[in-house]
């Protein structure tokens, strides 16, 4: 999956599930402080991303290190590559 496709799909999840306007979805946006998600919203986000990309991330420790939107793009990219192997 191309990098831009991942960006578009992740942004789509934020727009559909959280109704966040597209202009706020810049790679450096901090998920907690800029976008205003909390720990419970993160659970909803993980569920939506799993569904969208067909990956499993709920019990993945690396989720804890995610801070920005760009971290999510990169993490999904890594998961996709791992799934391909």
């Amino acid at each position: 999956m191309a990098e831009q496709d991942i960006v578009n799909l992740v942004n789509g999840v934020f727009m559909e599930s959280f109704e966040i306007p597209g202009e706020k979805l810049v790679p450096e946006a901090k998920i907690f402080t800029d976008l205003g998600l909390d720990s419970l919203d993160i659970v909803d986000l993980v569920v939506a991303l799993q569904k969208k990309f067909g990956v499993t991330m709920r019990d993945d420790e690396r989720v804890r290190a995610i801070r920005t939107l760009e971290d999510i793009y990169n993490f999904i990219q890594i998961l996709k590559q791992e799934n391909r192997k």
Binding site: S17, F18, F32, T33, G36, L37, D38, L40, D41, D44
Partner: protein, 250 residues
């Protein structure tokens, strides 16, 4: 000269606060113990929560009395016979904000940070009254406790920022209480507080003169917010409070 006046007023307030608390807390404790011996638990809890409200009411009026420069103005506060329960959501600027909830004439439980439970005596009383520490309670347990309270007719007061604002801006909201609202379909009531940021400021116990305004907005029924998800609901409520506090501070 001004500093001396503030120091004098603080001394007057804290002297009155401790004198009142030293006299009232043992008397009220005895009253509650006697109630517990005679009446069923639900009645006792109701009394205990009213007793906490009385105590808070006296404390906030103590600093109105001892502080000639402090005013408390409140608008739109629900009437005693209001058909509750409600979920009150409030912006948070000062440690004193929790005391203003004593103005609500309903049986309420507050969702608080960890530190109020660590205050000697008051922390124990808060725990006994069923106050909930959001940070120490897993969400499932939090939802179960608050839902049960609401079913019992007890209103919930929450400060969804989770901590006091350091810059008078309204911080990001946590969604826990809004998830409970969506589940229980209880009306949500925004409460806006301005002017409390220096009474006392963060990191200090020194109360400064000022005017505290508390404005209760119209309850928002489930029919109006039920179509939202928790994230959009919390941000919708946050925006209402941001807009109203801006109007209040003009």
């Amino acid at each position: 000269m001004r500093f001396l006046k503030i120091a004098y007023l603080n001394l007057a307030f804290y002297a009155a606060f401790f004198a009142f608390s030293l006299a009232a807390i043992p008397a009220l404790t005895l009253f509650m113990v006697l109630c517990a011996l005679v009446f069923p638990r639900r009645y006792v809890m109701k009394r205990l929560r009213r007793v906490i409200s009385w105590w808070g009411w006296v404390v906030i009026h103590l600093y109105v009395l001892s502080f000639s420069l402090v005013q408390i103005k409140h608008e739109g506060i629900v009437k005693r016979d209001a058909k509750g329960p409600f979920i009150f959501v409030c912006n948070h600027r000062s440690v004193s904000d929790a005391f203003y909830m004593a103005l609500l004439p309903l049986e309420v439980v507050q969702v608080v940070n960890v530190w109020p439970f660590r205050i000697p005596i008051l922390g124990i009383v808060a725990k006994l009254a069923g106050y909930i520490s959001l940070w120490e309670t897993p969400f499932e347990e939090f939802a179960a406790k608050t839902s049960q309270l609401l079913r019992d007719g007890v209103s919930i007061v929450a400060f969804p920022e989770g901590t006091r604002s350091r810059d008078q801006l309204v911080g990001q909201f946590h969604s826990a209480i809004f998830r409970v609202a969506l589940e229980t379909k209880i009306p949500i009531v925004p409460l806006c507080i301005t002017g409390s940021e220096n009474i006392p400021p963060i990191g200090s116990l020194l109360l400064r003169p000022g005017c505290i305004r508390i404005r209760q907005l119209t309850p928002i029924a489930w029919e109006e917010y039920g179509h939202m998800n928790p994230y959009t609901l919390k941000n919708h409520m946050r925006q209402i409070i941001i807009d109203e506090t801006a109007v209040m501070e003009k």
